[in-house]
Amino acid sequence: MSRTHVTCEVNGDAVDFLTEDGESLLNALRDELGLIGAKEGCGTGDCGACSIIMNGRLQCSCLIFAPEAGGAAITTCEGLASADELHPLQQCFLEGAALQCGICTPGFLIAAKALLDENPDPTETEVRYALAGNLCRCTGYDKIVRSVLEAAVQIRTPA
Amino acid sequence: MAVVHFSTDQRQHTGVTEVVIDAANVRALVRQLSELYPSLNAHLVETSSTAVAIDGEIIPDPMLEELTATSEVHLVRPLAGG
């Protein structure tokens, strides 16, 4: 298999890695860059556990061939917090008990960030549809949806 | 002393629905039951009924469990859960 040298920006850092051409960006992030936040739950784009934001668009990294990332700007779950502060979504997930096993959490946080970046004041229904590509088997979604709505309030009205 | 209640299957081996046994623990109780009903033990092994419910609580490893005069005993299978 051919290999490609990929240069891109991940969570604000310039990075580069060598990847087999048919490898997924998910595996490249995890194996080459050590960014384990994105998870493989299905490998077919059906669960959202591998969600990332690439060039401003929410995507499943398992459906992206790693070489596609050349020149791209990528945000993963690891890029949400600053050095001294969690992202409001992360804080609301913690306080709202929006995670149980936690395996889907990075994907939900990224999908929720993508939603709030575009729609800072979503309705419950909008949140539910925006998160429909992320499966959670533990929570029944209730506390996740509430936490996203709460984070939206906090982001709109900073303390 | 304890009252042992037998299930439908077990009654085929005991002929009675219940029996009072004077035993300090489950091991002694099982020993006495084996003497009273020679085919019961094989049936319990056969049906994996290796647990005992004492006063409503199912105990998976019961042999040294102490019994009181009022203990109600059922011979049951151990449970599993999710």
Binding site: N27, A97, Q100, G102, T139, Y141 | -
Partner: protein, 757 residues
């Protein structure tokens, strides 16, 4: 919600209004930050230097004799370091649980289901391992297969195990069949019961196999060294189980194996057994390098434990006043390829929410050419409740009674006999029924065009063995080490109970899940037992520590230990001659008073409190397409005491939604040739966020007298009622009762069309 005369009477709905300082509060969980930051390490997240990747070759046939396996070509492929087949494993005994485990891990002479593991490869890359596994040449002699209960029980059915003689039939059959066991529970005289009844309803129900659907596929990394020691990083519900099961399958001594628990990405019962660890261990031994195996989603569906499908026939009689006089039930449960206890559990649960003088329950465990059954939240109870609570609902409708009143009228209480023999301890079914009856949801009129359903659910809960070590650090903080993997917030629960005992801020307590070499034996996190049983060990260790702390204070003060009390995290001198000593003051001075303070407790927990849940749903049904929409849902569940109410609610809500999935759209679909047609999240349809309303919760607290804080397990029972709740709600909305799950659009529309004509 409600309180009784139990020892630790607690507050309402988890608001901490209980007299406890920490129990019942909602702190941020200790492992939360790692999980929202993407730093938490699950088994697939670990990479070791020199690590190889394992790939398992699986059978394409549902039932076949393995004639030969040729690994020559595979072994010569690039990057390949080890190839193994069933022949590399110890021989399995002819029958029993050990054989079932060994043959689940890897097939021996026969493959018993499509997806059954046949051989495995370790290679430098995932791609190389996969390519080599696919190059292994297996010659199969295909055998006829059976995929459903009716076919498996039919005369002349292909027999899966030629030494399987039905248990529980007298005299025992001499010819093998696919019926592994028959179970009977009987009380009184059912014919007399039907004679006393004014109405008798008889119905047949079916449910389909469903998967636990945890989002994290099974994964492990195993590193075996030249001295025969193995270190396993595993995602499981119990690492001591991984150790003992791996040892059993490999014929190894357990002391050769150390298991380090990775974070676990969901289990729901599905990770109470192993599939891949012994395979990785053998590959690692052969290759002399660490080996990682991560299952694909397809393989998870094809080869790991679903919960069984069932056929249940119910006949129930009732008097006009609502008294249920008798129930007769015939249950058959799929067992997958190996015999299990699914039907037995179904028999024990099926009428548990009702007081009955006369009952006859008969169950059959049936083996099939499908993957092995594994526990899924209150195993077997949902299908049983679906049957009984559907019939009860029909009785209520026929009698014109409120369905909750009817259930209250027949509700068992402490001291009544259970259907399976023993007497009920203190239970909260009545309280749950009343909680739903009094809920805002039930008190709100049903919107036009919708239907409302209620139902009950029961699950035993279990105790089992747990260990905990609590170490006090020199700065006055505490480390709580337990052997229970944290699936959904149990670290926080352990820390809260320790905080309550020691009088220490919960954030000064670090809860840790210890590996098999740092903490005492602990059974699998199953049967809703972690907070109950492991929590009990934590409390016991803390109480030991409090005694030690009082002794240290007595030594410091040169007084009798009896004069020292432990109050709010400090040693207090009874006579009042000394200033109180805080925990930190004592631990800071510990070297002078006898050395560091730590305590360990190991126990076999007794007194697990049975769990009940009562739920109500409003649904709308599109009568032209058969789509069912859940409009509103409320669940009440007896938690005993809610240690961390947020995670109690989370368990309740998660269980409900899994039950909704089971009721509406989830099902294993096999083709006639025995292959699973929907081994992915696209066509195995677990609920998505937009399918659901908020799941309203009412935590009922009827404390369990056997636990120091009154805890009952909360993990499982929530999944039980949704099946009958939704069937009852659909019946209410449409006037058509559907007795086959799932209530998928084609099935609902079919039923509506049939009812019209």
């Amino acid at each position: 919600m409600s309180t009784t005369e139990a020892p630790a009477s607690t507050g309402t709905n988890g608001n901490g209004a209980s007299g406890y300082r920490w129990v019942g509060t909602r702190p941020v969980r200790h492992d939360g930050l790692d999980k929202v930051a993407g730093k938490a390490r699950y088994a697939a997240d670990l990479n070791l230097p020199g690590m190889l990747h394992g790939h398992i070759l699986r059978s394409p046939h549902p039932h076949a004799r393995i004639v030969s396996i040729d690994t020559t070509k595979a072994a010569a492929m690039p990057g390949v370091k080890a190839v193994i087949t069933g022949a590399d494993f110890p021989e399995a005994p002819p029958k029993g649980a050990t054989r079932n485990l060994m043959c689940t891990v890897i097939a021996r002479d026969k493959v018993l289901y499509s997806g059954h593991a046949v051989a495995a490869v370790a290679a430098s890359t995932r791609r190389e391992a996969k390519a080599a596994a696919e190059a292994i040449e297996v010659t199969y002699e295909q055998l006829p297969h059976v995929l459903n209960i009716a076919d498996a029980m039919a005369d002349g059915a292909p027999v899966i195990h030629d030494n399987l003689l039905t248990r529980g039939v007298d005299p025992r059959p001499t010819e093998p069949s696919n019926v592994a066991a028959r179970t009977v529970y009987e009380r009184g005289d059912v014919e007399q019961g039907f004679g006393e009844a004014d109405i008798v309803i008889e119905r047949e129900f079916s449910t389909q196999a469903v998967h636990q659907g945890y989002i994290e596929p099974h994964a492990c990394v195993v590193d075996c060294d030249q001295e025969g020691k193995a270190v396993i990083w595993a995602s499981s519900q119990g690492h001591f189980m991984v150790r003992s099961s791996t040892a059993t399958v490999l014929g190894w001594d357990t002391s050769r194996i150390k298991v380090i628990p990775a974070e676990i990405g969901g289990g729901f019962g599905g990770k109470t057994t192993i599939y891949i660890e012994p395979v990785a261990a053998l590959l690692s031994t052969k290759a002399g390098r660490p080996v990682k195996i991560v299952m694909s989603r397809e393989d998870v569906f094809r080869a790991t434990g679903p919960a069984p499908g069932s056929i249940i026939k119910m006949k129930v009689g009732a008097r006009n006043d609502g008294t249920i006089t008798t129930a007769k039930a015939w249950l058959a449960y799929e067992n997958g390829a190996f015999q299990g206890i699914a039907a037995m559990l179904g028999c024990m649960c099926v009428v548990s929410a009702y007081t009955l003088d006369h009952l006859y329950v008969e169950g059959f465990d049936v083996v099939l050419n499908r993957p092995v059954n594994v526990a899924y939240r209150a195993p077997s109870a949902p299908a049983a409740a679906f049957a009984m609570d559907s019939v009860v609902d029909e009785i209520a409708a026929r009698l014109g009674m409120d369905p909750i009143d009817l259930r209250l009228h027949n509700c068992p209480s402490q001291g009544d006999p259970t259907p399976y023999g023993p007497k009920w301890p203190m239970i909260g079914l009545r309280d749950c029924l009343e909680a739903i009856r009094d809920s805002d949801h039930y008190q709100t009129a049903l919107p036009d065009g919708q239907g409302r359903g209620v139902a009950t659910g029961f699950w035993f809960n279990i105790g089992e063995a747990s260990s905990a070590t609590v170490n006090l650090n020199e700065n006055g903080t505490a480390t709580v080490i337990t052997g229970s993997p944290d699936i959904g917030g149990s670290r926080a629960s352990m820390a809260l109970m320790a905080a309550e005992e020691l009088g220490l801020d919960v954030h000064l307590i670090q809860p840790v899940v210890g590996d098999t070499e740092v903490v005492g034996f602990t059974d699998v996190t199953e049967g809703s037992r972690a907070t109950f049983a492991t929590g009990m060990a934590v409390v016991e260790a803390c109480r030991d520590l409090k005694t030690q702390l009082r002794k240290r204070a007595a030594k410091t003060w040169d007084c009798d230990v009896e004069e020292v009390e432990w109050v709010d995290g400090s040693a207090v001198h009874g006579p009042g001659e000394q200033e109180p000593l805080t925990l930190a003051a004592i631990t800071g001075n510990a070297k002078r008073t006898g050395g560091p303070l730590g305590a360990t407790a190991s126990l076999n927990a007794r007194g697990a409190g049975p769990a009940f849940s009562v739920q109500v749903a409003d649904v709308s049904v599109d009568s032209e397409t058969g789509r069912v929409t859940v409009e509103r849902y409320t669940t009440a569940q007896d938690a005993g005491t809610a240690i961390h109410p947020s995670y109690v609610e989370g368990q309740m809500q998660g269980g409900v939604v899994q039950g909704i999935g089971w009721a509406l759209n989830e099902e294993y679909i096999y083709s006639d040739d025995g292959n699973l047609e929907n081994p992915g999240f696209l066509d195995y349809r677990i609920p998505v966020a937009s399918d659901l309303p908020m799941i309203e919760t009412v935590i009922v607290e009827v404390p369990n007298p056997s636990h120091p804080y009154g805890v009952r397990g909360v993990g499982e029972v929530g999944i039980v009622p949704p099946l009958p709740v939704l069937a009852n709600a659909v019946a209410d909305a449409t006037g058509v009762r559907i007795s086959d799950l799932p209530l998928s659009p084609p099935r609902v529309l079919d039923a509506l069309t049939a009812a019209e004509s």
